[in-house]
Symmetry: C2
């Protein structure tokens, strides 16, 4: 595409000041009261979208991940600094199912961009995405391919109960995708996996992995029971003597692994409802693991057990 | 012990203003120019101690961990809010090898404490510690018990090369202790495991696990070779197709697991010197794992292999 930035150069050389113009081009947003800027600010600095709201992401890489995951980009915001990324993004959009409407590619100045960005050193590229509409069936059977196949026979879901650090939530979602989990559920009181910080920590996995959020824990437990999915209670606080090996649970079964709060672990309603407790063997000198690490180790162990195929059949 | 806070109550009831007095007691530090406050500030807000400097920690729990690890407490700083923790800390000190000199229990106001603390909601308790003096032999054979025994026959060291986030460094040190690693080495360019943020993320493990820091990578590689310790290169970026199971390395051997930078992975000098690469089997949709998770999964796998004792003999 042709750069929309040359006009400002030209304007300067002619010495004619033009009201609306700026280094971000003549059509750029130059008022901080612009409704799009306000929407970007809310999304990029918020704690995740509530009903009807959009997901905010920053950075070329995440925008590309969103496009390749067929998420709908409602608007793309580009600053002067980010302008050189536009071509790359439009190429990704051209190859995607959803694309980006030209009229929704918005320009602004670096200064105004910094005023809406959620990161300290913004790259000058941000997007608003329509949240994907996952069902429990997706979370338990995995993301379907374009032709609707390749779903898992055996659920491997991770359920976050009161995990409060969005960095931990994102790390867990990233590990979940890496180790072949079918999906994730964040209960109420857990940091939103679609919050900007969690998406960043997930390195984009939160845009691909089937996810449900803001669910009430009793509802999750009931629906898993109906679906015949085993409930395993893991927690960074459930340790077992290091003399035993293995996590002490059959992770080949269709199961949901519950991960508790960083400080308090899992609530008693989950511990009571659980079919089994998962304990990570570790040294007695250590009280607990980082919540993201504990969840990831259990997911790694599940993947390991499932790959030794004979073990799972 | 008797509270030193009653005088201020008494002073108030008599209505006599006394110059040096404050809610923190008559002997409290009330000047921000006090040399101890300056030392605490530098330690609690710094990136880790350089030669001759002290380690700064905050919170009752970490102070207790330091005492139970026989670290020397050079000074304890307590604010008005933290005063109710002093008795608990003195009990821990009484049961420790090193204790705390009464003259080094310093009081200050909540306001001045907040001005030196490195956390947003300080608990009002902080300490300066003399860094433990570990040798490479400790890192390779594990922390000795009080009577000098119980050292490991087979080294399991983790070597951090350019890991920049102190949270990741702390998480890895915590997992290293949890999964029975003998010690850890942080090369130059890695966040200091004794920085306040890393110690916090380690949940105290950085105060117990044998640790060397600020070492040059070629020196580490040479010393491990001399010691007959295998060099394994792991990285959040070295993935192998998820069809294979296991990390593809014999982790029962005396070995050092090298973990690379969050973005760039391991430098070529390490990849070239390595006896083997460690790859974590994972989905191709995911480019890499969080560095803390990658290291922890490899350490978990090492512990798992080593516990199946017959496997290691």
């Amino acid at each position: 595409m042709r750069s929309r930035f040359s006009p400002s150069e030209r304007t300067k050389s002619l010495g004619i000041p033009i009201g609306r113009s700026s280094d971000a081009g003549p059509d750029a947003i130059t008022s901080r009261d612009n409704k799009w800027l306000k929407m970007f600010r809310a999304a990029l600095r918020g704690t995740g979208p509530t009903a009807g709201e959009l997901i905010g992401i920053e950075g070329t890489k995440l925008v590309e991940e969103a496009l390749s995951s067929a998420l709908e980009v409602e608007a793309l915001l580009v600053s002067e600094t980010g302008e050189n990324q536009v071509e790359r993004i439009l190429r990704a959009a051209a190859g995607s199912e959803t694309g980006i409407a030209r009229s929704r590619i918005l320009r602004t100045t670096d200064k105004l961009f910094a005023g809406v960005a959620g990161t300290e050193a913004p790259q000058g590229v941000a997007a608003l995405l329509r949240p994907p509409d996952w069902a429990l069936d997706d979370v338990l059977r995995g993301r379907a391919t374009a032709d609707g196949v390749h779903r898992a026979d055996s659920a491997l879901a991770v359920v976050l109960v009161g995990v409060q650090d969005p960095g931990n939530v994102g790390t867990i979602v990233r590990s979940a995708e890496a180790f072949g989990a079918t999906g994730a559920i964040a209960t109420r009181g857990t940091a939103d996996p679609w919050s900007p910080k969690a998406i960043r920590a997930s390195a984009g996995s939160a845009l691909r992995l089937p996810l449900l959020h803001s669910m009430a824990t009793p509802v999750v437990l009931a629906q898993l029971k109906i679906a015949g999915v085993k409930v395993y209670a893991a927690s960074s606080h459930v340790a077992q003597p290091s003399s035993e090996s293995g996590v002490g649970a059959d992770l080949c079964e269709s199961c949901a692994i519950f991960i508790g709060n960083e400080g308090a672990g899992l609530p008693s309603e989950v511990l009571h409802a659980a079919d089994a407790l998962i304990a990570i063997p570790m040294s007695e000198a250590v009280e607990s693991l980082n919540a993201g690490v504990a969840a990831s180790v259990v997911l790694y162990e599940a993947a390991r057990q499932r790959k030794r195929a004979s073990n799972c059949e």
